[in-house]
Symmetry: C2
Subunit: 304 residues, 2 copies
């Protein structure tokens, strides 16, 4: 072996590009983050190349990349990306980075799920659900130890559960969706313009503000209903909550678990544990790295 | 081989016991149905034995059985059954039937899913969702060609999706559930006592009754919201609808597909096909037979 083999994982987000160099045992060698250029494909590619170079990406045995959108079936690009990051749509990253290795591409929430399943809150679990609670609500599903991508890479879009068939459609047309009931993008609408972020709302809740408390209770109850639904559909061993809203800690988890004492079906008595994600902002980059390792292992028919 | 090898599949339902003898290529040799004895474990076992004997069950290479409830992890019994059929809870069917072969046990909706995936509407599909629309709403999920059972066998309880976090709890505690919005068990409540079955409601809808039409529209829209949710979570190739309510045919499928034109997220343009189940009342028995074959193959590491 001589030199230590490692994977490069790159998370190309709307705000930042984050990357890690990590070995097959999960030991992180280096990490790097830069701002995402605001317009155009060429500046984006140049920024990703620069980050890869700083992490000695040319020496990486495996390269994985994630970004918003649906990953193509062949795993080499994002085949569809709504509004936000059109620059990545249809971009073959292996070619764009002039990489000797295939650059394996995943949806970012899927990558975070793989990361948490490898080294985070869902490690050693065979069935798990990750919800990322932020501007929108994303997610990922682990079934029998493997990421569920589905037919066109749409699986795990957990924010688009409908919680009201007669409600307003969300950005994915789902009526009265979980995302619109909980995500940061609707916080102004849900608070009559009083708050512009869930973090501010949570601060007011913690200060004892009754009106804020009432809005928050509705959000938490909606999230509990969504989680109870997912438990009945997927029967996971664990539900992991990531994203900015999960940083509310006990202000979220205590009432959420109480709501689940009501709404969760527990035929054998035990609740499904609801826990915070562990890998933070680099979960996607770590998961993208792991994904590249595991595809390579599957292709070679050997352990990576 | 000489004699033709076959599997016995037995569906132990609340009303009837249905059984098939079927070979590994899916050729059905015989089928049988009898009424389920109304009380007690011994009469139930005796009835199942009788059906098995009539189908030459003693010569079967594989035996599978399904019934309501959650299948145990070891696949030899139903470990939990709510209210309806307590006689099956904890019953080891291999012992009860004094069978030389292990009797492999599945949840009935799971078995129907396996059946439809083998010989019915979901054949040759790798990702599929089955919803059974009857007194309650059950279901099953196929992921990468395999039945998703989950951690405790609870996966696929699709009727217990919440469509209203602030609604009344259903029998599995889910607030404002899909089952309560669509299932036969709430038809009186939803029609102000005017109808006692969905079949009667559908008949009135087809006769142009406006009040019936309005109730039906709400049901269909709720079902569409549930299906759109499941498409966003699981990204199936196909959604199969079985059970008595699916017999409404165009009266169900036409408005349902129209609702999904609104509520379904179609990033690549195509709708997910929504189709009727094909195997009818014996889907569970057929799926139970197939399940036994495939476990045996997995255990032996060879094709069954």
């Amino acid at each position: 072996m001589g030199k230590r083999e490692f994977a490069l994982g790159i998370d190309v987000g709307g705000t930042n590009i984050k990357a890690v160099a990590i070995d097959a045992r999960g030991r992180e060698l280096r990490r790097e983050g830069v701002s995402t250029p605001s317009v155009g494909r060429e500046p984006l590619i140049a920024a990703v190349r620069m980050v890869a170079r700083r992490l000695d990406g040319g020496d990486a045995r495996w390269i994985g990349l994630c970004s918003p959108g649906l990953a193509a079936r062949d795993g080499r690009s994002i085949v569809w990306m709504q509004g936000r990051m059109e620059a990545v749509q249809g971009l073959d990253w292996t070619g764009a980075l002039a990489s000797k290795r295939t650059v394996w591409v995943l949806n970012d929430a899927h990558a975070a799920t793989v990361g948490e399943a490898w080294l985070g809150a869902a490690r050693e679990r065979r069935h798990a659900v990750l919800l990322t609670l932020g501007t929108g609500i994303g997610g990922g599903i682990l079934v029998d130890g493997r990421l569920l991508q589905g037919t066109i890479g749409r699986a795990g879009h957990l924010g688009h559960l409908s919680l009201d068939p007669f409600g307003l459609p969300d950005i994915c047309r789902s009526p009265g969706s979980l995302e619109d009931a909980v995500g940061d993008s609707t916080i102004e609408r849900r608070t009559g313009g009083r708050f512009t972020s869930t973090a501010d709302l949570v601060e007011a809740v913690e200060a004892g503000d009754a009106q804020a408390g009432s809005v928050w209770s509705r959000s938490v109850r909606s999230l509990a209903a969504g989680i109870a639904s997912l438990i009945n559909v997927l029967d996971p061993e664990i539900v992991v909550l990531g994203g900015g809203i999960a940083l509310a800690g006990d202000t979220l988890f205590v009432p959420l678990r109480r709501e689940l004492d009501e709404a969760e079906w527990r035929p054998l008595g035990q609740p499904v544990p609801i826990v915070p994600a562990e890998l933070g902002d680099y979960a996607g980059a770590i998961g993208a790295a792991r994904h590249a390792m595991s595809i390579d292992s599957a292709v070679l028919g050997a352990e990576g």
